[in-house]
């Protein structure tokens, strides 16, 4: 980990959904990241004004290239630029990867429950990728809460993994619009639906929750009430204000 600002080359930019994009960044001398870590990105305007935002690393390789997935906030300062304007060949400044707590290591042996709200899937995807690439056989289960099927990140990859990986189960919850062949109508996530779609409290899974603040608070609270030990729950909050969109 380095606290210093370094230069990153933008090496790829692939739309993930209508409002989001996965950006590949090459940082010289970087040796990958721990699954779950984030980087800080600094943009500077031509008069010297700059803005910094955090983005989770989506990838889990050990090389100089990392991927981030940015979701555009309609009136945001930084995210619309990253999603719409930043081009392959551009450079930007980057700090990190940082964080040693909201991380999963291939040496961890407990079963893992991942719970994502919207773009909160990003660091959890890094954990899924690290897990798939490792010999680790612990059971992984992902619950992904989405506004609509179109809002899902990494759709093909998750579909393939949920079909083919013996060690990953993927469950979806749709809050505003469900796929046409879906059994249940879209609705806000409830404690009952949540608890029916995750690994049981016994044996205690390591649980990682990521998304907007309100989502994370609510889900963490439900889990504690249902008897999941607080110490087994790790959370990462993406937004100060919660309902920004």
């Amino acid at each position: 980990m380095s606290p210093l600002w370094r230069i990153a080359d933008v090496v790829s930019g692939v739309p993930e959904t209508e409002t989001s994009r996965t950006i590949g960044l090459r940082v010289e001398g970087l040796m990958g990241n721990l699954a779950g870590q984030h980087v800080d990105i600094r943009l500077t305007a031509d008069d010297g004004y700059s803005a910094v935002r955090s983005y989770s690393v989506a990838t889990a390789g050990m090389d100089e290239i990392i991927g981030i997935t940015v979701d555009e906030l309609a009136n945001g300062e930084v995210s619309p630029y990253l999603v719409r304007d930043l081009a392959v060949g551009d450079q930007l400044e980057i700090r990190g990867p940082v964080g040693g707590w909201f991380v999963w290591r291939p040496t961890d042996t407990n079963p893992v429950q991942l719970i994502a709200g919207g773009s909160g899937i990003v660091p959890l995807m890094s954990m899924i990728r690290a897990h798939e690439a490792s010999e680790n056989t612990a059971q992984f289960r992902l619950l992904y809460s989405l506004k609509s099927p179109e809002a899902g990140f990494y759709r093909e990859e998750l579909l393939t993994l949920s079909r083919e990986s013996p060690k990953l189960t993927v469950d979806y919850v749709y809050t505003r619009k469900a796929p046409s062949d879906w059994q249940t109508a879209p609705k806000r996530l409830t404690a009952d639906v949540l608890l029916a779609s995750i690994l049981p409290a016994d044996p205690t899974p390591d649980t990682y929750i990521c998304g907007q603040t309100v989502f994370v608070e609510t889900v963490a609270e439900w889990l504690v009430q249902a008897g999941y030990p607080a110490a087994s729950i790790k959370t990462e909050r993406f937004g100060g204000t919660g309902g920004t969109r």
Binding site: T44, A45, Y49, A51, R53, Q91, A220, T235
Partner: protein
């Protein structure tokens, strides 16, 4: 100056001199905690200070409420870049709590219910710079924000203002706490952008 991103203009919220570098102003009160919020009923709450000599000073909730209470109006700054200006709190100055404490230690480790820890140099806690706060905006501090009481050290990044505070352990050395062991700065001054280690 860094790499210029052509076409990036930004929204420039940072013209405000009350905002430390890299911070933006928010009107809400974001909740940032490493895990779920613990439940600590006030009647079970206790606050302690322990010294290097093994002396233990402790206050029950009632004893704590009997101490002189002060109003605090201050700006708060989170390492995740939000700042909230002009927040109002009520609580007890740490100077009051330290009145009978004798120690030559220069550092403290704050311990919270739930196991969280953070380290703070003693000079950052004394001389009217830190409080134990139990009221926010005229209301008892919500559990999500550290209720019944939290440490309030507003001149440092807010991870130093330990929620669900249980006590202070005085130490000779500066021993990294929870976030400080996880990549964050040992001191955490927002005006110097002491974010990461």
């Amino acid at each position: 100056m860094g790499i210029i991103s052509s076409g990036f203009h930004g929204k420039r919220q940072t013209g405000n001199p009350a905002l430390p570098p890299g911070q933006y102003e928010t009107g809400s009160f974001p909740v940032l905690t490493a895990g779920p919020a613990p439940h600590i009923p006030a009647e079970n709450w206790e606050f302690f200070i322990t010294t290097e000599a093994g002396q233990r000073h402790a206050w029950s909730w009632d004893a704590f409420m009997d101490l002189p209470q002060v109003e605090i109006r201050t700006d708060i700054h989170c390492v995740t870049s939000w700042s909230r200006l002009g927040t109002s709190w009520r609580g007890v100055s740490l100077d009051t709590l330290f009145e009978d404490v004798e120690s030559s230690c220069e550092f403290a480790t704050a311990h919270s219910y739930g196991g969280y820890t953070t380290n703070i140099p003693l000079p950052d806690l004394l001389d009217g710079r830190a409080w134990l706060a139990w009221e926010f905006d005229g209301e008892p501090l919500e559990r999500a924000h550290g209720g019944p009481a939290r440490l309030l050290v507003p001149h440092l990044y807010f991870w130093k203002s330990a929620k669900w505070i249980n006590g202070l352990e005085l130490t000779q050395g500066d021993i990294p706490g929870f976030w400080e062991s996880n990549g964050y700065h040992i001191h955490g001054d927002p005006w110097r952008e002491e974010r990461y280690s």
